[in-house]
């Protein structure tokens, strides 16, 4: 009778147990991810980049083993504490002087076999009460174990943060430096967005993965191993039941993931369509207004918005099922163990404390399994990212500069092309056997139809591309004997598309020359006729230019880059269609200033407008990579060749407009 009362037994001693199943990262399971071409190869190479940190990583591994071991000791120790308490309580139920064996026999006599079995398996000193010294000892040990486990877990993550971030820093730096060494050809062949996302998104992805997934994976795998050992050591039958839950949860996850991926794809598609509409309506804002189309725009938006809502609701609902379903499996497992375990205890096959510990461990078991599955998915996308970054790092680079470069501090601008040949694509010759001699201070105008090779000529001069045959001399020095840096230092250029970086107008002009004074910058702005415009802006020269700067037009941006070239004050000037987005009158003003700038300075000017180049010393008429005519304006007009025709076609238009 007493034993019955005493054994309102411990149900489920708490402990560090697993948090509810599912957990963060559940979504990683159901979202579609990019697949790497060579999963192992990419990860192995990424691992290679961690080599400098290998001592620390080994240390992290040791810490993880210690931390997990301590964590797994927790339930067992807590079970011991419960046993001490339980034994103590039971002992008070048996009158002092009666031995345990006698009490068992008494129970059997009453036919209460189960209780007798239960009691027989315990070590009880009747009448002794709870042994608080032993309890305190166990609990203190438990405190130490928990604190050490936490400390080691913290140290592990703290060190790993450093490892991951240092590695990512180096990777990012390597990628950036790589970009500086890549030939221009690479940038022509690869979409900007693609290169950008390799340097940014992909590396961010790797960063997060190194930080979280790695330690999580280690801990999860160790926990699975440790818990499995503990479970098998307690009862192979119960362990089998727990393991049955594994394929079940995997199966359910796969079913849900398949369905939700379809819905996520639909969600992305709808998002794309809605974003397209938003982009279109916002970009054509004024047109929408003046044509009174706002109601229609809103109606279409509402329709798309509703479709997106529908698709994303389905995607989120189905993927959100994962957590309840996993909890369901966990709870099923829990119920099965509670029932089967209860039956086993009733039959005296295992002790009560063992069932409690088992429940504890089975809870600790499901969490790392779900975690591992989602980490594997994350690792897939990490490998894909790593692959893309390594692809970039493997691209072939520009030829290195000459070992013993010739430094040319200044040049008067005597430039010679000697039998130069070049082609972008092996089968398509572009520039063939080109000869050209430009004397100091000359202005060279390059004209010709689109695709004639005008820009290519400039690209070769600046060694953006390396020539296939022949040589280019500057003041008699082969350009390849100079460092690229020295060579380019001699030139200043204004390009077709005005490149400005995020920063103030002031800084953008100052980019032309390091250490320029305020007065010099203002003078350059005035020379480029951009001073008035800048002053109409709210912040004047401190106006920050960025992607959103809509109050600066293409023409005005062009003027700013011209101001930059003014400031640079280079030995040789290159203007590539520099005035194409400026109106004709502004162009005239710029021409005057340019004239002053070009004075006594070798200049190359590429332009469509003949007025721009009429004053040039030499006009190169290019067609299909060859210089087909060369000479002064009058000379070429008199020759009545290609230039004459080109000129006449534009002249006619000007004449008729004037009439």
């Amino acid at each position: 009778m007493s034993a019955q009362k005493a054994s309102t037994p411990p149900a489920r001693p708490g402990g560090p147990g697993g948090p509810g199943p599912g957990g963060p990262g559940g979504h990683a399971l159901v979202m579609p991810t990019a697949k790497p071409k060579d999963f192992k190869g990419a990860l192995r190479r990424l691992g290679g980049r961690l080599r400098t940190e290998r001592l620390l990583i080994a240390f992290v591994l040791v810490l993880a083993v210690v931390s997990v071991t301590f964590m797994i000791m927790g339930p067992k120790l807590l079970g011991n504490a419960t046993d001490i308490l339980f034994d103590g309580v039971v002992s008070t139920q048996i009158p002092a002087g009666v031995t345990q064996a006698q009490a068992v026999a008494a129970l059997r006599a009453k036919g209460q076999d189960e209780q007798a079995d239960l009691l027989a398996n315990m070590t009880v000193t009747p009448g002794q009460g709870v042994d608080f010294t032993a309890l305190a000892r166990t609990l203190l040990l438990l405190v130490a174990v928990y604190l050490l486990s936490a400390a080691f877990a913290w140290l592990q993550q703290y060190i790993m943060a450093g490892v991951a971030q240092r590695t990512v820093y180096r990777l990012r730096q390597a990628a950036d430096e790589k970009l500086a060494r890549l030939p221009l050809r690479y940038f022509d062949d690869h979409p900007r967005g693609d290169v950008l996302s390799r340097v940014t998104n992909d590396i961010d992805n790797i960063s997060q993965s190194l930080q979280q997934s790695l330690t999580q994976l280690i801990t999860a795998l160790l926990t699975i191993l440790g818990v499995l050992i503990m479970m098998l050591s307690i009862s192979w039958l119960l362990a089998l039941i727990s393991l049955l839950a594994v394929p079940l949860s995997v199966l359910l996850t796969v079913i849900i993931a398949k369905r939700s991926q379809k819905q996520f794809a639909a969600q992305w598609e709808r998002t794309g369509e809605l974003n397209g509409h938003v982009e279109e309506m916002f970009t054509g804002h004024n047109v929408v207004k003046v044509f009174g189309r706002q109601k229609q725009a809103i109606a279409i938006f509402d329709e798309e918005n509703e479709k997106l809502y529908d698709a994303s609701f389905k995607a989120q609902f189905i993927s959100g099922m994962i957590m309840p379903v996993m909890t369901f499996v966990t709870n099923l497992n829990y119920v099965a163990i509670a029932v089967v375990g209860g039956l086993m205890v009733a039959n005296g096959r295992i002790s009560l404390g063992d069932v409690q510990a088992f429940i504890q461990y089975s809870r600790m078991f499901t969490m790392p399994i779900t975690q591992t599955a989602s980490i594997m998915n994350v690792l897939q996308s990490t490998a894909a990212s790593a692959e893309r970054v390594f692809e970039l790092l493997d691209e072939s680079e520009e030829e290195p500069d000459a070992a013993t470069p010739v430094a040319l501090g200044h040049t008067c601008g005597h430039i010679t092309f000697d039998n130069v040949s070049f082609r972008y694509v092996p089968d398509a010759p572009l520039i063939e056997d080109l000869d050209l001699d430009v004397r100091c201070g000359e202005t060279v105008a390059i004209v010709g139809p689109t695709g004639a090779g005008k820009t290519t000529l400039v690209n070769l001069l600046l060694r953006f591309y390396e020539i296939d045959h022949g040589r280019i001399f500057i003041d008699g020095v082969d350009a390849r004997q100079m460092t690229r840096s020295d060579l380019r230092g001699l030139f200043g250029m204004v390009l077709q598309d005005a490149w400005l970086f995020t920063g103030t107008i002031h800084d953008n002009i100052a980019y032309g020359r390091e250490g320029a004074t305020q007065d010099e910058i203002l003078a350059a702005a005035k020379a480029a006729r951009v001073d008035h415009f800048v002053r109409t802006l709210p912040d004047g020269y401190d106006t920050v230019l960025d992607d959103d700067a809509t109050n600066v037009s293409a023409g005005e941006k062009q003027l700013l880059t011209i101001a930059r070239a003014f400031l640079a004050d280079p030995d040789v000037l290159i203007l590539d269609e520099a005035t194409s987005s400026v109106d004709t009158r502004t162009e005239v003003l710029i021409q005057e200033a340019m004239g002053a700038l070009m004075k006594d300075r070798t200049s190359f000017v590429i332009a469509h407008r003949l007025s721009t180049i009429r004053g040039a010393d030499t006009i190169l008429v290019m067609d299909r990579g060859h210089i087909i005519e060369q000479g002064g304006h009058d000379e070429l007009m008199a020759a009545r060749g290609f230039y004459f025709d080109l000129y006449a076609s534009q002249f006619e238009e000007g004449l008729e407009e004037a009439s």
């Binding site: 936490a150 950036d176 189309r293 709870n331 109409t536 809509t550 502004t586 004037a658």
Partner: protein
Amino acid sequence: MIRLLRSGLRPYWRQILVVMVLLLVQAIANLYLPTLNADIINNGVVTGDTAYILRAGAVMLAVTLVFVIAAVIAVYWGAKVAMAFGRDVRGALFRRVESFSQAEVNHFGTPSLITRTTNDVQQVQMVVLMMLNVVISAPIMAIGGIIMALRLNVPLSAVILVAIPVMAVFIGLVLRSALPLFMSMQRKIDRINQVTREMLSGVRVIRAFDRTRYEEQRFDEANVDLTQTTLKVNRLFALMLPTLTAILNLSTVAIMWFGSIQVAENGMPIGDLTAFLTYIVQILMAVLMATIMFVMVPRAAASAARIQEVLDTQPTVVDPLRPATDVAARGRVEFQDVEFRYPGAEDPVLSGISFTAGPGEVTAIVGSTGSGKTTLISLIPRFFDVTGGRVLVDGVDVRDLALQDLWGRIGLVPQKAFLFSGTVASNLRQGDDQAADEELWRYLEIAQGREFVTEMPEELEAPVSQGGANVSGGQRQRLAIARALTKRARIHIFDDSFSALDFATDARLRAALKRETADATVIIVAQRVGTIMHADRIIVLEDGAIAGMGTHDELMRTSDTYREIVASQLGEGEVA
């Protein structure tokens, strides 16, 4: 963010209530399972009643089923409310942006407005979903657990009452340092993106100016900065999980110790003690999970702020309270001493602009880049409002006309001939839904677009991609002109609309236009002198002021600026 959530979620309070009730059911089910397990052991195991064990097992199964059903329904409504919230916020943003004038659009920038309407809403929506699924279950679980704990044993509950505030204070401290770090981390990631993007777009300039070293430094600064901040965040968060787990575990040890004393001295049943241990684990676990989800909050808060900023911006150009009615549409446009400046600008963009353009007249505006031509014509359809003087249309201040009324009077061909995705016909019918195909052909003919549209296999039904990217610049301009004509407005504004046309087409187009718009008011902004020299009135703009006004011949005599413009374009002819 709270403001956005409050206003956005208010319509769904019933559904949210349902979700909360269901989460409560889940919490109760979760807390009830261990109690049932205790019963199995108390009443089944100890008495050897296997039938009871199976019966209790069935009840546990039932509770588990209730739990999963409640959870699925909660997820259903959670997803529904969160996505509906996103849909509503997107809708509100879109409507607000549609009401903006050019000034507000410029203030934010079109790309930024697009991002706010799309990505930012996405961010906030995900957090709402997370909150409805996980975060609000934490307090429910905590309260449910505390009630269960108090029911069992009041003194022992003190441990929970200590543990929760300790956890809360710790989480609060970590989050207080972490939130700003997260925000700054996001900014630094953006910075890396920006530096890289600029480097990629300017690779020729950078190499030409030999600034590779400088760019590498710029990148390295951003990289070091980002690495340091990320490291700080991650090291801070390395503290989070171990500490919280330690607090949780130490609480169980405390319960075990004080519980044992209660068991030994006050005869508390051991079952109660173990149930207690389960409760505290479940409560603290729920709190912990909610905290982990909070990591998403800072980014969403930034997004919410960006959304709220748009929603809080009032359009400056709005319909008048009492719009003028029955204003006969003749087409007369008058500027009276108009001034326009951007807020806070040192110099005005336009000042002292006065002129009248009447029906049957062609008024041309010429001037250099940045002289204010486009701004001037933007004042007529109120893309901006003047900051001084008045703009009158048909004798009424434009600010006194209903916007739809005003816009109905104007046919505009913008500088960037923006076409919508659809077909040639759907673009032309922007001007008039009811226009018949024959009419469309007629306007195409005037705009010199008949020929190339006929050459397209689908003719009027030929597809036009977004922005008109699949047709050439010249074709785009001609379609935009035809579209404006379809509107049959009294005022025609052409903002540099002939620039992409070759000379012959330009001339034919202007001749045809002249017949079509003979009694309308035509305002042309142009760069080519040839396009405008026959205008009734030419206005020469310089630095935002009128530098000359008159016919071509008058201006040739009186205006130096005009002569310079003419000379710059016709100079070649003179030499030849």
